[in-house]
Symmetry: C2
Subunit: 124 residues, 2 copies
DNA sequence: GTAAAGCGTGGACCATGGTCCACGGTCAAG
DNA sequence: CTTGACCGTGGACCATGGTCCACGCTTTAC
């Protein structure tokens, strides 16, 4: 799979793929194809980009994503440290779920107000 | 409540409060106190900033937040249009919930792998 | 074989979401 | 009545996450 294909499959631009690569988010998921110097992207790279897209949509920064992926690939971390790191990220995901719930309540309340004809104030 | 108090209560900087104000996110929630030209912030403004913080943490842009708030305050929108707008935002929140679920699964799988001793690949 | 489409590299540019700084006015303690 | 903490304004600056462009090479379609 070359850059054009992976980009359109992942729903991002070629430039974005190259940018993620420069940021170290794809690393060994994309190898240069020696004969013609076109890079070859694996299915892993595609899943990786989709993961990044999801994470980004939730307000995670590329730096945070890179930290998790980077820690993964370099064997510098003991399994115990990896467990700690993942659990930390899971906690963050749960915090986001909480924020999401707060927002949903605010929006639902706003909807109720509008439907009952009282449309003055946006609930917090 | 003046800017220093609202900023520290909301956990943001004074500059951030001023920035949000310039972006039209606080509008009539902060009035200039005429005597000394210090601005007076209401409890509504505080809740507003907290709402912005939550929304931002979930990847909503200030522009999106401003659109919802702005549509609210200007009485240009009929209740029907407001309903449409809110339901649209609720759909976005649900999409984010889906992304969150995807991420949670990826992280849980990663945790499983680490715990079973197979620590090579980050699942998508 | 020639043209169009695709690729890699490098660098300029851009929008978003702030942060920092300097200036001058204001308020509160001593 | 001065000193220090706070405020408003304006503008420069910054990091993040891209986007765009020009260049020259490759591959694919005709």
């Amino acid at each position: 799979m070359r850059i054009g294909e992976i980009a359109s499959r992942a729903g991002v631009s070629r430039d974005t793929v190259r940018f993620y690569e420069r940021m170290g988010l794809l690393n060994e998921a994309a190898q240069p194809h020696l004969s013609n110097n076109y890079k070859e992207y694996s299915a892993l790279a595609l899943r990786r980009i989709e993961l990044i897209t999801h994470a980004k949509a939730l307000g995670f920064t590329l730096r945070e994503i890179a930290d998790v992926i980077g820690a993964w690939e370099q064997e510098a971390l003991a399994p115990g440290e990896k467990r700690v790191l993942i659990r930390e990220k899971i906690r963050e995901v749960e915090n986001k779920a909480h924020s999401l719930a707060v927002l949903r309540v605010a929006l639902s309340e706003a909807l109720d107000k509008v439907e009952s004809g009282c449309s003055d104030e946006l609930p917090a």
